[in-house]
Subunit: 373 residues, 2 copies
């Protein structure tokens, strides 16, 4: 077989959790797991964790949960998704290591984070806090298929915790909470007529001019929560109108996306948008609340102090909001530049993977009391 070609698995591939975290990242990437096809990887993860006597392992579809049950006063979730977006053509796998970077699908989003989770699972037989390792499927596709959401429905007790770290790529920093998102359609109504005799009609596209102007003039608020700045945003993300080239249009619909600070509920966000577009028909199409960073809570403070890394606000919506909705404050912290996620040239500095592993080991090994002084 030519060098560099991915092999067709004739025997099942095993993950060696005692290998270094970079080799483990490569091994995880080299078992492709595009959303919906995570089975082989979930099997390998389940088997590897099953060999560790200090963990109880539970499987839900292609989601794998492993927990310590040491009776510690605090419990922390370390979560990551197993799936990736599709490979490039030709495929950007197997991984390649070049000049301090690991290249290939999943190296950023987010098998580096998963490798860190698995290394901690192997190393920390007696962590200072009880730990729940969560490996879930279908994060990169529609919310209805999301493995974390499914687990929250099927076995919410497995997600109970004081704090959660989602190991999504943050370029090595800590990103707290996330903004919420609301999508609405703002519609104008007109009367159709022949475009040679527009006085018999009323132009719904012309009537949308003030809607676009309000969007262009809008001054977004910055919400500061737990010391982090969430920059709100209100944008048209779509517009459609028109019947035919010789007809005055009787309808125009502007799709608006409002990204709002985690200090606002979804209902408050809707109220804000309805007030802004008073006089127009506003229909909500979908929305999700944001997440407060919860950085004033003791566990979160110990995390930030132990890692001694910069903390910024997460601007995009992420699965930390699902933890937030379950009452678990959560942050994003993981190796890789998020701007390279889903990218054809997806690649991650190996140093970031190693540093993430060391930072978390340090936090979870030291005495909890030290953090709360």
């Amino acid at each position: 077989m030519p060098a560099g070609m991915p092999s067709t698995p004739t025997t099942r591939r095993e993950l060696d959790l005692d290998s270094d975290v970079v080799s483990l990242t490569a091994a995880l990437c080299d078992i492709p797991s595009v959303s919906g096809a995570e089975g082989e990887l979930a099997d390998a993860v389940e088997r590897a964790l099953g060999r560790l006597p200090h963990l109880r392992v539970v499987r839900d579809g292609n989601t794998v949960v492993a927990r310590t049950e040491l009776g510690r006063p605090e419990r922390v979730v370390l979560a990551g998704h197993l799936d990736t977006v599709p490979l490039t053509d030709p495929p950007n796998l197997p991984t390649q290591r070049r000049a301090g970077e690991l290249w290939g699908r999943g190296t950023v989003d987010m098998k580096g984070g998963v490798a860190v989770q698995l290394r901690l699972a192997a190393e920390l037989a007696e962590p200072n806090r009880d730990l729940t390792y969560l490996f879930y499927d279908c994060e990169e596709v529609e919310a209805a298929r999301n493995g974390l959401a499914r687990l929250a429905r099927n076995a919410p007790e497995l997600l109970e915790a004081d704090f959660a770290v989602l190991l999504e790529p943050t370029d090595g920093g800590i990103e707290g909470g996330c903004k919420g998102t609301l999508r609405v359609e703002v519609a104008t109504v007109g009367v159709a007529a022949h475009s040679a005799r527009p006085w018999n009609g009323r132009n719904a596209i012309h009537a949308a001019a003030p809607v676009l102007q309000r969007l262009a003039d809008y001054q977004p608020r910055t919400a500061t929560v737990d010391g982090l700045d969430y920059h709100e945003a209100l944008n048209a993300v779509g517009i459609r109108g028109g019947i035919a080239g010789n007809v005055i249009p009787d309808a125009c619909v502007v799709t608006v996306n409002y990204r709002f600070g985690p200090d606002r509920t979804l209902a408050e966000a809707e109220e804000h948008v309805r007030t802004l577009f008073e006089g127009y028909a506003v229909t909500v199409t979908d929305g999700a609340e944001g997440a407060r960073p919860g950085l004033r809570l003791p566990t979160a403070r110990s995390f930030v102090e132990a890692l001694a890394l910069p903390v910024t606000a997460k601007q995009g919506w992420t699965d930390v909001a699902r933890f937030s909705a379950l009452g678990v404050p959560a942050v994003n912290f993981g190796p890789g530049d998020p701007n390279l996620a889903h990218h054809d040239e997806e690649r991650c500095p190996v140093e970031q993977v190693e540093q993430a592993e060391q930072s978390l080991l340090r936090w979870l090994r030291r005495a909890p009391a030290a953090a709360s002084t």
Copy 2:
């Protein structure tokens, strides 16, 4: 066979040009001739005209031309199209006569006019002007199939004349010339970005606000030509933009239709629109010049004087513009309310068909000299 059902033609149907004009209208409607299927009707028209010794008949596809060749100093074209839009379901044929109206497909657009043409052809063996009767196909479909346009390419000499009357429905009045039409796309350009981080992009839909505002604020000109008022119009007829619900759109395109007075050329209309949207990318998609009414020319004046009917400007684009482009001034004059054309309840007052016949007979029988005093 049940009463009221259309018969399947087992023998060819003949048109009796000596019958009254309303019966002839019904007979024409009862030979269905949806665009592209005018063959049977064109055959019947050709045979009926071929029996009149004072006419020379020429066939071009499903277009029939019949001419007097009396050596008169003036020649007038009387033109109408043979095709109709599709029938309703269940079919609005055969025609029915109820309370002074003839109901059914084609009664308005425009077999009443065609019946008037055929009656004149039969009655006027010695008209005061040479006459060209033109019956053409495919007016109701795309311009590339239009029988009048095809004849202008194949045998332009058959269309030479001093004046043309297009017997399209005008509710019994005279409509002169027509406005031109120009369609352009006005585009804005942005930079795509995630909608949670719009500061990395530039919103092309927001950038379209001034385009819509200019359209909403636009004060259209009224062009007065030969005493007729052509009300210009500038309208968005379509708008599109947006990539996905979480992406700042990088492009927005507004389709604009400019209906312009016949005193402007197509090039001038384009110049006007480009000036109005200076600073934006403007792409012309299609256009057609309008037609001056030519009502100051002697033949047109004699027509208006003889008919003694109100004259108004035609606002929509019609085939009079094709005559205008050939150097033949043209007006629309025919029975039926144009608002009922293509309508499910298409119907025409029989009185209007009779009056159109009488008016034209009067004009074409009286001495031409009388008109020019």
